[in-house]
Symmetry: C2
Subunit: 192 residues, 2 copies
């Protein structure tokens, strides 16, 4: 059950048998059904969640009731509200399973314990957060520098099967365009 | 010269005399004059830069020649293009000193070496990147959930002296509003 996570972590750091045993003891399995909420708005985020199979999204709902899709999370990515998790404050996002989804969860006290016991895991999380910062930076620059059309083409190159899991409304919201504009781009079949 | 950085790091982790000696050997001092570029567009970012005194901004210039202010960096904050630094790819931002500015710089090979030698520094960077991710998340949520007026009030509460260092044009760009709208908000003296 932990094999995918261990393989993922090994892309960043070497793991000893002791590290692997710690990971297996510490990350707990959970299954969510399509449409189930992993985190509700204003709930404290108790876990960092690694997606094994399925697809999740993080979003919030503005004052006018409009949904904003913030992150689309395929398998082998993480779905959490880190600000809520680390600072124990109410979440500002909702996390939802878009299809039946399996995850491995790490609570805050286990996170602290595993980093105290394993230098490899401390390094893994440093590198993983480092990569997440680079990805955030890239998204900001893409939003500023690329046209909506270019952002859509890049997105579909990276996630060619995404429409199996994610509605066009969510994809449009994530890419910062209207659903009508996205439909227009799709009719042009730009990414094939 | 390294006292401010050491004090800053100690907010995150305890340091041994050996760690402190390493920091003093590894981070190098540089002074920039007002208007000087620390990083040019498409140059590879060779350093993580800790601001000791002064003020910097990171920005880029769109296809139409319009400047987008991405980050405002006061003293005791970091100014770098991490994606360029870690992946050795051309930078997508420009970093400029807005006033005379002093920094401490850490190049990539020194970064790798200090993390191999000091578990405290590995933990420091993990925690610092973690905080940076939380701050990014908060900025995304604020942009979605708060009005321009609320974002401006919060910003001025956090940085009451900022207009000494940063032009109104840059503040408007950073907050995602037009300079005219910012001028209108300022006339209302909302934050006093």
């Amino acid at each position: 059950m932990h094999d995918k996570l261990i393989k993922y972590i090994k892309k960043y750091v070497a793991l000893t048998p002791g590290d692997i045993a710690l990971i297996e003891e510490t990350f707990t399995y959970r299954k969510l059904e399509k449409g189930e909420l992993l985190l509700k708005n204003e709930e404290i985020c108790r876990h960092q969640n690694f997606v094994l199979t399925g697809f999740m999204k993080t979003y919030n709902v503005g004052a006018t009731g409009k949904e904003h899709c913030i992150l689309l999370v395929p398998f082998e990515r993480w779905a959490s509200d880190l600000n809520s998790y680390f600072n124990q404050v109410p979440s500002t996002v909702i996390i939802k399973a878009l299809v039946d989804t399996e995850i491995l969860q790490l609570n805050k006290s286990s996170f602290d314990a595993i980093l105290d016991k394993s230098p490899a895991m401390e390094r893994f999380f440093r590198k993983m957060y480092q990569d997440a910062l680079c990805a955030h930076h890239k998204k900001i620059i893409d939003t500023l520098m690329l046209s909506a059309r270019e952002r859509y083409i890049n997105f579909m190159k990276n996630y060619p099967d995404i429409t199996q899991f994610v509605s066009l409304k969510d994809i449009a919201s994530y890419l910062g365009m209207t659903p009508e504009y996205l439909s227009n781009l799709r009719r042009q079949k730009l990414y094939k």
